[in-house]
């Protein structure tokens, strides 16, 4: 039943809570990524044992659990409402009889349709913020019944008017996915004379402009949300002309980084348009968060009370969340650094959870003896030098990082022999790694995709830099070998049976020499391929596409193994976990999903973004996932329990690239605004801002030792930044940590180590080889 299906979506972090969802298929022995038991929901989230003390919010689902009774009730009422709307009267009666619900209660429900509509809000509303908003709405509705303060129209006399919209909608368009729009909108009831809106707004504007300097910057934050909500109210109440003139008059005052939203708003002039407009819904369903000092807030409150400016006061009450802090008001610069996202700044509590950003302990692998001989062949007289080095590395990895998560916090696949070999190779290469720094910049090798006719949409490189994959707009995925070793597929079953399975080179024998080529084309998608990712063991390849699927390809047979369907809309990005087995995907449906290769359904759904999830990255320790979104925020999610543990705001455009530093402490993000922002994950603070690019940044990568950050952009440049210096200057005193007020020095130019122009080739992928050579790639696009 449709209504029931919505239920798990609401408790979104738990897509299949024990019992309610269809049972998981038994974790059949996975064909190639074996050994790991699937972290079934109850097992992972509620697992007692070592993870117990690590997961503070362990057994309870985060948001709705705070008030289970009202939520259940709301859900129930929503179901009833749905049944009635779809003329399933019989089912409704049965359900009601079962629940022994009294008639007046249902009637009461009809009186507060806003409360009814709430449970139907999109999956994105599932986190704590959403739940809170929901509660406040119920409270508001309850208050509306009794008190006159909210406005005359909310009295029972106005009820039929309010209740009317649902019927109208139900008759016309089927609203399966869209939340009950009219219910949501009904909060925009007529509360004042439309002609006075301009007066209200300019009155407040005048007040803020005349305020003391120190308060002005803080109070100016109010302009944008107030403007939006007042405009939407006017539009909702069908004062089209007033709305237009209001927009004309004041939209120029808004900060330039809200341009995109302004554009959406400007096209929205009719009540009918508001149905299904996502941006509008975002404004309505989420509270815009402002951070204001107590003094400034008092000032504002006093002003509004003096002026009897109920209109604005109501908006502030209902649609804004003001995060009040004690202390000095922030400067304009400080504010500008943090604002810009679709829903204002992150609340301070949102970034307080503990994050285990340390790296997992590397398994100890004995380096085989023949290693020495091999190197002796390559470079004579060097092995002596290397020995102490390797020892030091070994001891480093033995020490447990205090910030690291427990080793078995999430179950990880066990190492195979081939993985161990690869690790050894990696360590060997690491000893030959070039030490980078401002004095020693990396060489950059550029792979240009020629004749791609602007169709190149995604690129990835294997960790050992032996293969490059390109995703194209013509739905193909093309894998190139960039070493002399050609790509070969395994022989057919009939041929395989002829092979001597005991021979030493059986792995070599199973390959079909006739299929050797430098390029393999993988056909299967039916839309542009927006993301690709190699598995760490180079046996698999993931690709995600406009057609809503994520596909898993075998690099042994060059065929598609699985198509993961879950996102019903375009999937923008996907990435394998650094330990393999898990992968994450994010798409237009505003959620990121965690999958395991042997499960056809997602293990976790990370919901909370207010717009498309445009990029997804795993933390190096695989316990966290960062997602960037078109709502201009970056979120960090805990894989274990699906909680959002960090919300980073500050970008002024959709995020298009993410990169974790190799030590796991920092995150770099790039957006369409051409800026790279650096974040301290542990403290949840912005750590730096790198300005220089003039267009969208599509690629970010830290060098293997984290000294250099490379960024590649649509403006046809690769830039190198001094990552060491940024993090050296970082203020992490208690005050900054407590308040979250950062002072960023304007030193982008000092941190920029080099700018390398390409010849009209946008840079869309960057990769540091194990020896710190930088590989960049992009498609040549003749102007």
């Amino acid at each position: 039943m449709a209504a029931l299906a919505e239920e798990p979506a609401e408790v979104a972090v738990k897509p299949d809570p024990d019992g309610t969802a269809p049972p998981q298929p038994p974790p059949a022995a996975p064909p190639a990524a074996p050994l790991t038991p699937a972290p079934a929901e109850g097992e992972a989230a509620g697992a007692p044992g070592p993870a117990g003390e690590a997961a503070p919010a362990k057994p309870t689902p985060p948001g709705p659990a705070a008030s289970p009774a009202p939520t259940d009730r709301q859900t129930f009422l929503a179901v009833l409402q749905f049944l009635r709307r779809n003329n399933l009267r019989e089912s409704e009666d049965i359900l009601r009889r079962e629940a022994r619900l009294l008639g007046e209660e249902v009637a009461a429900a009809a009186l507060s349709p806003s409360a009814l509509g709430a449970p139907g809000t999109p999956a994105g509303e599932a986190d704590a913020a959403g739940a809170e908003a929901l509660l406040s709405r119920i409270a508001a509705a309850a208050a509306a019944g009794g008190s006159v303060a909210v406005g005359a129209s909310a009295t029972p006399g106005g009820a039929p008017v309010v209740a009317a919209p649902p019927g109208k909608v139900g008759g016309g368009v089927p609203v399966e996915e869209q939340p009950d729009v009219s219910a949501v909108l009904s909060a925009y009831k007529q509360q004042g004379d439309p002609a006075l809106y301009e007066e209200y707004y300019s009155g407040l504007k005048h007040f803020i402009e005349c305020a003391l300097d120190c308060h002005r910057a803080e109070l100016s934050q109010l302009f944008y949300p107030l403007f939006v909500h007042m405009y939407l109210e006017l539009v909702y109440n069908q004062h089209e002309n007033e709305a237009k003139s209001f927009f004309e008059k004041f939209h120029g005052d808004q900060e330039c980084y809200y341009q995109d939203d302004m554009r959406v708003l400007s096209s929205l002039t009719k009540k009918e348009h508001m149905k299904g407009n996502e941006t509008m819904l975002d404004f309505r369903t989420s509270k815009f968060v402002l951070r204001i000092s107590r003094d400034s807030y008092q000032l504002l409150k006093r002003h509004l009370q003096e002026k009897q400016n109920n209109q604005i006061w109501n908006i502030v009450q209902e649609h804004l969340y003001i995060d009040i802090f004690d202390g000095m008001p922030r400067s304009k610069q400080q504010i500008d650094a943090m604002v810009g996202s679709l829903a204002g700044e992150a609340k301070r509590e949102a970034n307080k959870a503990k994050v285990f950003f340390g790296l997992l302990k590397e398994p100890e692998i004995e380096v085989p003896l023949d290693d020495e001989d091999e190197e002796g062949e390559n470079e004579e007289g060097k092995p002596k030098k290397k020995k102490p080095k390797r020892d030091s590395m070994g001891s480093k990895s033995k020490k447990q990082d205090p910030n690291a998560p427990p080793q078995n916090r999430i179950p990880l696949p066990e190492l195979k022999d081939s993985d161990k070999l690869d690790k050894i190779m990696n360590m060997k290469e690491a000893t030959k790694r070039v030490r980078l720094g401002p004095e020693y910049l990396p060489s950059i090798c550029f792979y240009t995709f020629l004749n791609a006719y602007q169709g190149l949409t995604a690129v990835d490189t294997t960790d050992d830099s032996s293969m490059i994959v390109g995703g194209f707009a013509d739905s193909t995925v093309r894998v190139w070998s960039v070493t002399p070793k050609k790509l070969r597929s395994v022989k057919s079953a009939a041929d395989l049976s002829l092979i001597d399975k005991e021979s030493d080179d059986v792995l070599e024998r199973i390959m079909d020499e006739r299929t050797a080529s430098e390029l393999k084309i993988l056909y299967g998608h039916s839309g542009p391929v927006y993301g690709t990712s190699f598995s760490p063991d180079r046996n698999y390849l993931l690709s995600c596409s406009e057609d809503g699927t994520v596909r898993l390809w075998s690099l042994q047979t060059f065929t598609c193994l699985v198509g993961y369907k879950g996102h019903n809309y375009p999937v923008w990005d996907t990435q394998f976990s650094p330990y393999g087995y898990y992968f994450v995907s994010g798409g237009h449906d505003r959620v990121a999903r965690l999958w395991a290769t042997d499960h056809y359904q997602p293990l976790r759904i990370f919901a909370g973004h207010l717009a498309d999830v445009t990029c997804t990255r795993f933390h190096p320790n695989s316990n966290y996932i960062a997602t960037g979104s078109a709502d201009r925020t970056v979120r960090l999610w805990d894989v274990l329990n699906g909680n959002c543990v960090r919300i980073f705001t500050g970008h002024k455009g959709p995020i298009h690239s993410l990169a974790f530093s190799p030590n796991g402490r920092f995150l770099a993000t790039g957006a369409t605004d051409g800026r790279v922002l650096l974040w301290d994950i542990g403290h949840g603070l912005m750590a730096g801002e790198l300005k220089g690019h003039t267009d969208t940044i599509y690629a970010l990568r830290f060098s293997r030792d984290g000294e250099i950050l490379a960024s590649g952009s649509m403006d046809n440049t690769v830039r190198l930044w001094d990552a060491v210096k940024v993090f050296e200057d970082l203020e992490t005193d208690d005050f900054t940590t407590a308040t979250g007020h950062i002072n960023l020095p304007e030193n982008s130019q000092d941190l920029l180590l080099g700018t390398y122009m390409t010849k009209s080739t946008p840079v869309i992928h960057l990769h540091f080889t194990r020896r710190n050579l930088l590989l960049a790639s992009g498609a040549y696009s003749p102007q």
Partner: protein, 678 residues
């Protein structure tokens, strides 16, 4: 304020209600009320905006700057609307404008197409397949100057430096400026990147002659040596290559002072020694430098102009003035000077007026020998019709008398006679077209004689001839423009469903002289698919600062290909060898470079004999991957390669038989790409 600027853009743009009416009529609904139209217009405008905003999302995710029709299709799909099948936009949609009755209308003119035309036209060539090509964007922080990279100092910047040395870089060039600042503060280990551009910039305002300011890298020194030797050497084929390289290479900026000095010193010495051949070679170098689209010569004109002027007006340029054709050199140099004037003369430097003065002075002087006289006139004449009109025509009578003095008078010397003859023909050649323009048609022998004295009669006949020729030319011009436009429409039409196959069309116009390097490199897939590679020359140099001991020289020649292109190899004695210096330490199997500091520059020059072609394919400077990093160029299916051969190779000499192309196609894959395993 950015917001202020954009204010206008955010107005409520709406489709006109009339459009709705027209559309309604088009589908057979007449008499739509005005109100309905307005409502429809509002709704449609909103939906169009909404879909466009969604389409933008697809553009961003597709990592493009241009919105395509497919983006709109996907946006429609998001809304559960059936996409518009069968619409493929061309790069540029030519909207036409019409107005009348106070209304303005923009429309897209769709021509009716005859199906049989489409069926009968041959299929368009298959667009080239996607392929991967590697090159060095940066080597330890320094960007190598190779065609794959943009020129190190764009021409505009060079110009800004030359003309406004004191002015700091403009806001638009901020990036370059900061890069430079960076390059200086971050002292790269070899110090090369540091001194690359900075000092030139700072040194310019103080010193007028920026000589030897910075050191050239080893590769650059070798390149310089190779090029200068080839330019003045005996092998014509090599010279053509070298000149081609000078004319097209994007990375010569730093070597420009050297070349400039080389030329000026060379002229100085060879004028004294009367070595005509070398002077000609040097002038050709000047020409090549002028032709290079990435160089801005203004800073070096103080050296180049005297050298060129010397070649125009020097009393003696060759050992045997009676036999050698030094006149051609004077003509050539005169054209160069004219080109310099055209490109660089400004009101501040007054190059043209200074040059004009110099010429006039030496011409007016009675004692000037005939050779110098010839040069002066040639120099003036090349400066254009205005100069001829104001400076030469008034002196025709005087000059005519002087010529008559030699021709009809007592025989003084053979040399003088030849000189006078040349001066006479030169004057006739240049003055006739000008006179044809300024004098009204009836050409009367007597009138001319009265006006121009001794030369009048001859001038008259020349003018008549010039008029006839002008008329003929006018016709020809018309005809050519017609032929050019013809083949276009069929091509674009038939290729449209394939997606925009841009590369072939780029290859078709390699002679678009503006930026030949860029277009060619772009259009070309990668080494293997490049058809019929001419004998190529690679100089691979590794400037190993550390372990130069472990180096090895591997030499091999592309003789297989060289012999195939026999017409070339006969003219060029000896096929160009491929020299490669590879250090053995590089044989690591994985795709990484070792930490040792090594640099690679591969200089590959086009086939000899081609350089002479005007606007021919540029020299190709390509980086070699280090041995561990192969060029991952990908050959498209063999059949495609072969098919593309004959038409697709801009480098194939015209009239190349097809079997030749095919034979080479097979070899091209092998010989064309430097195999890293070597």
């Amino acid at each position: 304020m950015a917001a202020e600027e954009k204010k206008a853009k955010l107005s409520h743009t709406l489709l006109p209600a009339e459009s709705m009416k027209v559309m309604a009529e088009a589908v057979g609904i007449a008499q739509v009320p005005e109100e309905t139209c307005q409502l429809l217009a509002d709704e449609v405008s909103y939906r169009v905006k909404e879909i466009t905003q969604d389409a933008l999302k697809f553009m961003h995710m597709g990592k493009r700057r241009k919105l395509t029709t497919s983006d709109v299709d996907y946006a429609l799909k998001l809304k559960n609307v059936e996409p518009l099948y069968g619409f493929h936009a061309q790069e540029f949609i030519p909207f036409r404008y019409a107005s009348g009755g106070g209304r303005e209308l923009y429309f897209y003119e769709e021509k009716e197409v005859d199906l049989s035309d489409i069926i009968n036209t041959p299929l368009p060539r298959v667009p080239l397949d996607v392929c991967l090509k590697a090159h060095w964007l940066s080597i330890e922080g320094t960007q190598p100057a190779i065609p794959e990279n943009p020129p190190p100092a764009p021409k505009e910047q060079q110009k800004a430096e030359a003309t406004e040395p004191l002015k700091p870089t403009k806001p638009g060039q901020e990036e370059v400026g900061t890069l430079k600042g960076k390059g200086q503060s971050a002292s790269t280990p070899d110090g090369k990147g540091k001194e690359k551009k900075g000092p030139v910039l700072e040194g310019a305002p103080l010193k007028l002659k920026p000589r030897s300011i910075h050191e050239l890298s080893v590769e650059q020194q070798l390149y310089y040596k190779e090029i200068t030797e080839a330019c003045v050497g005996s092998c014509e084929a090599k010279r053509a290559e070298a000149l081609q390289s000078i004319a097209t290479d994007p990375g010569l900026y730093q070597m420009l002072p050297r070349f400039s000095t080389f030329i000026s010193e060379g002229v100085r010495v060879n004028v004294v020694q009367n070595n005509l051949a070398l002077l000609i070679y040097l002038m050709r170098m000047v020409k090549a430098l002028m032709d290079n689209p990435t160089l801005y010569l203004e800073k070096y004109l103080h050296e180049l102009i005297p050298a060129v002027m010397t070649c125009i007006v020097s009393r003696q340029l060759c050992l045997r003035p009676d036999v050698d054709n030094h006149w051609a050199l004077r003509d050539f140099a005169a054209r160069l000077i004219a080109q310099i004037c055209k490109n660089f003369s400004t009101t501040t430097n007054n190059i043209q007026s200074r040059i004009t003065k110099t010429f006039t002075k030496s011409w007016v002087d009675d004692k000037t020998p005939w050779t110098t006289r010839y040069g002066s006139i040639a120099g003036l004449a090349e400066l254009g019709h205005d100069v001829i009109k104001t400076l030469i025509l008034p002196r025709l009578q005087v000059e005519g008398e002087r010529v008559r003095g030699i021709v009809e008078g007592p025989v003084v010397s053979n040399i003088d006679k030849i000189g006078a003859d040349h001066v006479q023909s030169l004057l006739l050649k240049h003055c006739a077209p000008v006179l044809a323009k300024i004098r009204p048609p009836p050409d009367n022998q007597d009138c001319y004689k009265a006006d121009y004295g001794y030369l009048g009669a001859l001038l008259c006949t020349h003018v008549v001839k010039a008029r006839a020729q002008a008329a003929l030319q006018a016709q020809q011009v018309n005809r050519t423009t017609l032929t050019i436009t013809q083949p276009r429409p069929t091509l674009t039409l038939s290729q449209a469903p394939q997606g925009p196959p841009r590369a072939p069309s780029i290859i078709k116009v390699p002679s678009s002289i503006t930026l030949p390097v860029q277009t060619l490199v772009s259009g070309r897939p990668s080494t293997p698919t490049q058809p019929s590679p001419p004998p190529t020359k690679y100089i691979v140099m590794s400037s190993a600062s550390g372990n130069s001991t472990s180096q090895q020289v591997i030499t091999f020649s592309t003789s297989a290909v060289g012999t195939a292109t026999s017409p070339v190899s006969t003219t060029a004695p000896g096929v160009q060898p491929v020299v490669k210096l590879v250090s053995t330490a590089q044989t690591a199997p994985s795709a990484t470079v070792t930490g040792s500091v090594q640099k690679y520059i591969v200089v590959s020059l086009p086939a000899p004999g081609e350089g002479g072609k005007a606007g021919g394919p540029p020299a190709q400077l390509s980086p070699s991957a280090p041995s561990g990093l192969p060029l991952p160029g990908l050959a498209p299916p063999a059949s495609t390669t072969v098919k593309l051969e004959p038409s697709d190779s801009p480098q194939a000499p015209p009239g190349t038989p097809i079997p030749f192309g095919k034979a080479n196609g097979a070899q091209g894959g092998v010989a064309g790409s430097p195999q890293p395993s070597q």
